[in-house]
């Protein structure tokens, strides 16, 4: 970034990015618990609907109470992001607002109204509506939240893979040509599946952690055990689902954002039969010298893993950072231009835009304006590159992407192991449960009295209950790491290949952006502290059993 010749304060760009990142990270603390807890309370109420016992009604109402606290805290945290579009990212808002704004508008009008209507029935309707209608309302609350997530993720997916649009040089806006292409883009579908499923992990981890706390305190043991049984099935299904959808997402990223894949793998030089890096030494605070180094030091890799992840074949070609900067021949035989070529064509596009607008303003003849328009359209694919002065700016932060990816995947694997162990201990699976209990007992991790047939509560040893509580912050770290990867990997683009950050940002004083950053930090931290204290109070109070 220091090589950029700008007439905008670089501090404004960085503070604007930091402010957006802060508000997005805080927003994402509340959303996944809403999505995840919605599934678990839906299942709990479905069981109540079938059994009609007071126990299941109170259990359901307890989880709904915690859902309500989180829902109330999360409400409107996303609105500030939309304010930031209009103030801090005004060029972005104008340039792509016609497309980006549509899914956000649908989210607000359709999904939010659906959620807010049925959440009222869910909380107020226990004695007012039939059990069936109440059950439907609970599931529709969750569905409304999920549909909300769909539209927001469609908007974000479009930033990563802008499709279904054409640029109008007269209005300076990208205009939607196909709503379905935007709404159902493969990137949007992958992102939605992976993000929502990973939110169910957070819901499951939260329920297991709260239930384990009750087991440690020997309170509401029956409710705790039954809740763990529901949550662990949801959690294991979600963790495995996240692995599958993550693999699919990796392939989509390989096709449309190869630089993101190269950065997250610290892949400097690509090729065929590429290994997947499990771990390597990447200095977390410094961009590595990818032009000089062959590969990162101390690399431990899974043979053929990256080719498999990116292309679903063991010998698929995966381009590295240097290949992407210098140009390469793709698997289908076509040539991917070098960064220099893209930059040159981007500059042609920007110059053509400038000439076109000037010619139109001066009333030039149609032949002249058509010629400029033709040049613009031929090179529009690389429009954003025209703003790049130094091709090194096309490489996102390798340390952030590398470590965010490993944090997310590493914790994802841990969750699979954790849920697997809990399922084996909390359910009486023939042979398997007994085998594991005897094994854990032999190595001193389970009391000997619990080695044979035992109650489910006794089968959850204290160290596992404490581990479950520790899983809560780890689940949030994994979730936020995924977003860091998604957004840092897209840099320097606000819209992939179309609009870099330094063109998207408003020309504001960096000091004013810095002030709002710290204002948000204080505001959101206060809100988070309030939510956690109310949640903890409700957990301490427990269900009304």
């Amino acid at each position: 970034m220091t090589n950029l010749i700008l007439n905008i304060d670089p501090g404004t760009i960085d503070w604007s990015r930091a402010q957006f990142a802060l508000t997005a990270i805080y927003h994402w603390l509340f959303v996944p618990l809403t999505l995840g807890l919605a599934v678990i309370m839906g299942i709990a109420e479905t069981i109540y609907y079938k059994k009609r016992t007071d126990f299941w009604k109170k259990t359901t109402q307890f989880w709904q109470r915690l859902f309500g606290v989180n829902f109330a805290m999360g409400v409107a945290t996303g609105i500030i992001l939309e304010f930031e579009f209009g103030t801090n990212w005004s060029n972005y808002s104008w340039f792509v607002g016609d497309i980006f704004g549509a899914p956000l508008a649908i989210e607000g009008i359709v999904a939010f109204f659906m959620e807010s209507t049925f959440v009222a029935v869910m909380f107020f309707g226990w004695k007012k509506v039939s059990a069936g209608f109440h059950l439907a309302s609970t599931w529709l609350t969750g569905l409304g939240a999920t549909i909300s997530a769909w539209w927001i993720l469609v908007a974000n997916a479009w930033m990563q893979y802008p499709v279904g649009c054409t640029f109008n040089p007269d209005t300076m806006r990208n205009e939607m040509t196909s709503f379905m292409e935007v709404a159902l883009s493969p990137f949007a579908i992958d992102k939605f599946c992976h993000t929502v499923i990973s939110s169910w992990i957070i819901g499951a981890v939260f329920v297991i952690a709260v239930s384990c706390w009750y087991l440690l305190k020997r309170r509401h043991v029956c409710m705790a055990v039954q809740s763990i049984r529901i949550a662990v099935i949801v959690g294991l299904t979600a963790a495995l689902g996240a692995a599958v959808t993550g693999h699919k997402s990796g392939q989509t990223v390989a096709q449309v954002q190869p630089m993101k894949l190269a950065a997250m793998e610290a892949l400097y030089n690509g090729g065929n039969e590429m290994d997947l890096t499990m771990i390597a030494w990447i200095n977390p605070f410094e961009q590595p010298n990818y032009t000089k180094e062959e590969e990162p030091p101390m690399k431990l890799a899974l043979p053929y893993g990256l080719s498999m992840m990116a292309t679903n074949t063991l010998d698929g070609y995966v381009p590295g950072i240097n290949n992407l900067l210098n140009g390469y021949i793709k698997a289908d035989g076509t040539v991917e231009p070098s960064a220099d070529e893209k930059i040159a064509r981007g500059r042609l596009a920007i110059q053509a835009l400038s000439d076109y607008r000037k010619a139109k303003a001066e009333g030039a003849d149609e032949e002249t304006t058509t010629a400029y328009l033709s040049t613009l359209n031929e090179n529009y694919q690389y429009f954003g590159y025209g703003y790049v002065m130094d091709k090194r700016d096309l490489v996102p932060s390798i340390p952030i992407n590398f470590w965010a990816f490993r944090t997310m995947v590493g914790l994802g694997c841990l969750f699979i192991l954790f849920f697997g162990l809990v399922i084996i201990l909390i359910f009486d699976i023939p042979f398997v449960s007994l085998l594991f209990r005897r094994l854990l007992s032999a190595i001193g991790l389970l009391p000997e009295t619990a080695s044979d047939r035992t109650t489910a509560a006794e089968a959850m040893p204290r160290w596992l209950c404490w581990s479950a509580i520790i899983m809560v912050p780890l689940a949030y770290i994994a979730s936020e790491s995924g977003w860091l990867l998604a957004e840092f990997g897209r840099q320097p683009w606000t819209i992939q290949d179309m609009l870099p950050t330094w063109v998207a940002v408003s020309e504001l004083q960096s000091s004013s952006v810095m002030i709002t950053f710290f204002l948000f930090l204080i505001l959101f931290t206060t809100m988070l502290a309030v939510e956690i204290s109310i949640l903890l109070k409700q957990i301490k109070k427990g269900p009304e059993l």
Partner: protein, 82 residues
Amino acid sequence: MNNNPFVRPMKKNGFWHRAFDLYYEGFRNMTLGKTLWAIILIKLFIIFVVLKIFFFPNYISERATDGKESEFVADQMIKRAE
């Protein structure tokens, strides 16, 4: 008793009465909900009255002439390529 022949009294088991009753009784009987609603209203006030008005004006509306927004954005974007 309603003696106006033009006004039909709301049936107590009618949909709109039951919907109203759901919300009325629901809000009236809230316990934890009152605290949460207070927090929501304070938050919305801070967001829409304080933050939006004082910290988040519409950048383009404030600087571009009405109807000339595209010129303003074009100038901004072309200037940044120089």
